[in-house]
């Protein structure tokens, strides 16, 4: 059973590091606490929805920022959604870059190409943070799978 114990420790440490580095926040704990024997895949299900939704929003944002005349309200609406969904699963750093992004969208009454550059930069940051947290979460779920496959149970949060 040594292997399982090691995996479990690895998982606990990994999750702790994700919190420590700000990738996840308390809301992720909330999700885990909503998971139980009757809903054993709750976290994976919600996070999978988040991944799908995020891909869609990133595409919409890229499209919106490619337009000749940018509709900043549309951009803001997409970022607002992204901010909401990342907040709902505890993706802390993604949420923060979305907040910054929205602040830029609201300032867009500035003439010239500056607002567009800033929005593009924000989009890049959101993409970056999103792919980071996605990788982290996928690694986390992999670890959990390994533990269960080895006959262990997931450590309580």
């Amino acid at each position: 059973m040594d292997g399982v114990v090691q995996l479990q420790k690895q998982l606990v440490d990994y999750i702790a590091s994700l919190f420590h580095e700000g990738f996840l926040d308390e809301q992720f704990n909330q999700l885990q606490q909503l998971q139980d024997e009757s809903n054993p895949d709750f976290v994976v299900e919600v996070v999978s929805l988040f991944f799908e939704d995020s891909e869609r929003l990133l595409n919409e944002l890229a499209k919106a920022l490619e337009q000749e005349t940018i509709d900043f309200r549309k951009v803001d609406a997409h970022v607002h959604q992204f901010k909401g969904s990342s907040s709902s699963i505890g993706a802390h750093r993604v949420q923060n870059v979305c907040i910054t992004f929205r602040n830029y969208c609201e300032e867009q009454n500035v003439e010239g190409v500056e607002p567009w550059h800033r929005c593009l930069k924000c989009l890049q940051q959101v993409k970056h943070e999103y792919s980071l947290v996605r990788n982290k979460l996928e690694t986390l779920f992999q670890l959990e799978k390994q533990i269960i496959a080895a006959g262990g149970s997931l450590p309580a949060t």
């Binding site: 420590h20 700000g22 606490q33 909503l34 919600v46 939704d53 907040s87 802390h92 309580a156």
Partner: protein
Amino acid sequence: MAAEAQFHVLAVDDSLIDRKLIERLLKTSSYQVTAVDSGSKALEFLGIHEDEENEASIASVSPNDDDDHHQDVDISLIITDYCMPEMTGYDLLRKIKESKSLKDIPVVIMSSDNIPSRINRCLEEGAEEFFLKPVQVSDVNKLKSHLLKGKAKESQPNINKRNIMEEKPSPDRTTTNYGGLEMV
């Protein structure tokens, strides 16, 4: 069959993720849940058209139709997101309060944006509570008193205690206190 009747909550939110979350939160508290993705679907479910009252296109048999109060389904509480396309949570709240048959159903508003004027407007229009998203177990625990009292005019409206601060990127939170949460 459970000894006590289950409360039936109608949840309204255009975000699939948030619908899944609120549904789980409510079910954990043993509520029966119906989740819809828009205000108009909510009104349809409640048995009224947006313009007309007490005229449901959904044919139904209502055994206790004494007071002209007609509700197709017995909903104990409505919890709705504020920001939704087409019909906001506020618009939905107003329509519910304007409806003879629905006005006594407690309504709770959820929002990811912390805007005091928005919160006050909703509370003034008759919302029982205003929850900041993401909604917590401790928020859902507050619903019980509204459900048990029915529409209690004497209950104080509450805003869940979250930082009422200007929104800016937050530093990594150290500890947050969401009240007594049971560890599984």
